[in-house]
Amino acid sequence: MRIVVLCSSVHSETACAMAVRVAELGYVPAGALALPTLDRGTLRRKLGQWGLRDVARYARAKLIPRHGDGQARVINHYLQPLLKHADGVFRSLREAAALYGFPVAVCKDQNAPDSIAHLKEWSPDLIIFTGGNILRKQLLDVPRLGVLNVHLGLLPEIRGMSSPEWSLLNHVPVGITVHYMDAGIDTGPVLQRCEFPEAARCESLSDLRNRLVAFGVEKVGEVVAGLDHGTISATQQSDLDKDNQFFVMHEWLQARAAERLTKSRLATLAGTVNG
C-alpha cells in the first residue's frame, strides 16, 4: 500500500504522528507534501485570524528550533508516544522522514499542477490528509483508493467546523469519523465511525480536541491496515440531502459547550468516587 501524507506544515505534529503511525504498521509513506510553514499569505491570514501577539508566538515557535529533550515542547501530549524516538521527540516531519526514509516536498498550493505532478510521481494508493488547502477534484482523483480524512465528529450528524463543540451542544455522541474526501464538505464515504468513550473525562475543550486527534491517528492506522487486508470497506453517507453542516462556533456557545463537558466530568468523577 503506497501512502502519501498531506499536511499544512512540516512542523505539524498531527502529520508527523500520522506518518509515524502508518510507518510503524509497516506502511512507510511514499512521500509527504507540505505547505510552507511561514509564507506571506499564511502570515497575513493568521494575522487577521489571531492578532499580532499570537502570530508573533506562532512565528517564534516555527522559526526557533526546539531544544533540550524536546518532550516539554510537544503541544498535544497525547501524540507524544508516537512522536517519541530513541533520541528524543520528532520536531518536524523531516526528522521522521529521515528516520523512516521517505521524501518530504513543500509546495505553495496542494492543488497546483506541479503539486499534482509530484503526487502522481509517488503513485499513491491512498493519501492521508492532515491539513492544508481545500482539495480540488484533480487532486482527489490522484490516489487509487482515495484521500482519507479524520473528521472530529460523527458523520453524517455533524459536518463542518467546531465539530466536538457542536456535538456537545447538540446531544450527539462525541467521536471521530475516518472517511474518504469528496467535493462536498465531509460528505464522502465513511470507512470508520467511532464514538470516543473518554469524552467525559476531558478537562477542557482543548483537552478533548487533543485526545480526539490522537484517537483519530490511532484509528487511521486501523483503517489503513483494514483497507490493505480488505476487511474494511467504505459506506456512502445517509442524509446527504440534509444540511448537517456546522460552522465555526462563537465563543459564547463554546463556553456553554465547555460547561457541559465540565458537568459530565464532575458526574464521572462523582460516579468513580461513589463506585
Binding site: 497575513r44 491570514r45 494575522l47 487577521g48 485570524q49 489571531w50 467546523m161 457542536w166 456537545l168 451542544l169 447538540n170 446531544h171 450527539v172 455522541p173 462525541v174 467521536g175 464514538e195 470516543f196 468513550p197 469524552a199 467525559a200 444540511d243 453542516q245 456546522f246 460552522f247 465555526v248 462556533m249 462563537h250 465563543e251 459564547w252 456557545l253 456553554r256 460547561e259 457541559r260 463537558l261 458537568k263 459530565s264 458526574a267
Partner: protein, 433 residues
Amino acid sequence: MTGSGAASRDNGGDNGMKGQIARALTEATGLLRGPQRVVPLIRKLVSDKLRIAFEQRHLYSYTTTRRASGDALNLLLRWILDAQRPDGGIAAYYSLLTGYSESYPEVTGYIVPTLFDIARAAGDDGAAVAAKRATRWLLSLQMPTGAFPGGLHGGEAQPSVFNTGQILQGLVRAHRETNRPEILQAAVAAGNWLVNRQQADGSWAGPGAYQDVAHTYYSMVAWALAELSERTADHHDHGVGYGRAAERNLDWVLSHVRPSGWIDGINLRGHPNYLHFIAYALQGVLECAILRRRSDAIQVVAKSAWVLLRKFETNKWLLGAYEPDFKGGRRFTCLTGNAQMSCVWLRLFEVTDDLRYLNAALKMNEMLKQLIPARGRRGIAGGVSGSYPVWGRYQPLRYISWGCKFFADALLLEQRLTRSFAASAPEALPCAS
C-alpha cells in the same frame, strides 16, 4: 418607507423629480451650511477606506466578543434619544453632509416597541418617556381616514399603507404598555383603513402603495395587523378580521417564493433588491406566521434565512443587495439588513432550537458592534450607517435611525435568548453508549 429615500420618493411624477433635484442640491450644499461637519466626514471616509483596505475577513471573524452587547445597546439608545426632535418624532437620519433630518413618522412608529423593550430590559425610564412622547406625536399625525402619512414630517401628507402598518406596530405596543383608550382607538382606525385598502388577492397596490404597485415586503404590514388582532382579541371582537387580512397577505407573499428561497415581488423600480427589503419580507412573514401559528410559513422563512446564513458563514459578510435567487449582487454591506437578518435568525433559533441560527446571529452582532463608532459628535457616536463603507449605495453618508432600531432589537433578542439558554441546565454527555 425606510431605506428608500424617505419622504419624497412617495410622491411620483414631476413632483418626485423636482424633489430629488432639490434634495441633491441640499445635500451638495450641506457642508457649506455646516462646515463643522467637514472633519467628521473626512475622518469617517478615511477610516472606512483604511478598514476595507486592511481588514481580512476570515474563518474566525466575529467569533470573539470585543465589545459587550450591553455597552453597544447603551450607545444605540443614546443615538436614538439624541435623534428625537422637539416635536417628539425621531429623525430619519443624521447625514454627514446635512446633519439631522426632520422627524420621520414611519420609523418613529416602529421604534416605539424597541424603546419600551430597552426600558424593560435596562430599567431605563428615559427610553419609556421617549416612547410615550413619540406616541403622542404620532397620534397628532393620524388622518381622518385612519391612515398615516408617508415621508418625512413637513412634506405633502399622502396616506401610505406601509407607513401606516409600521406605525400600527408602535401603537399596538404603546397601548399594551399604557392601556390608554385613545391609542387603541387610533390603532383600530389604522387597522380598519389597512383592511379596507387591501386587494382581493391579499396584497396592497394602487394609491397608498409605494410606486402604486404591490410589494412582498409589505408582509411587515401583515405582521402589524396580526399584532392588532392579538391585541383587540383581549378586548372585544371588532368583526373586521385583522388576523384574516394578515393571513391573506401572508398567503399572497408565500405565492411569490421560489424554490431557491428567493421571494419575488420586492418591486422597487429603479433600485436594486437591498438586503433591507429582503429581510423585511422575511421578518414580516416570520413574525406574522408565529402570531398566526402558521408552521408552513415559518418553514419557508427558515429556508430563505438558511441560504443567507450559509452565505454569511462562508463569506463572512452579506452583500448589500442581491440579484434574484441570491445570485450575486452589490459589493457593499447594508448594515440595517444585517441587523434584521440577525433578528430573523434569533427568532428562528427560538422557534426551531437550531443553535446554528443563534451562532450566526452572535457573529453578526459582533460584526455590527465593531462598526458602531463609540466616540464622535451627536448623530455619529452609537450610530448605524446606512452602508459599510459609508459611501455604499444604500443611504450613503448617513447614520440611520432604523438601523439603530433593528440592531437594538437584535441585541435585545440576543440578551433574552442567551440568558434563557444559559439558564437551562446542561445535561450529561450522551457519549460512550
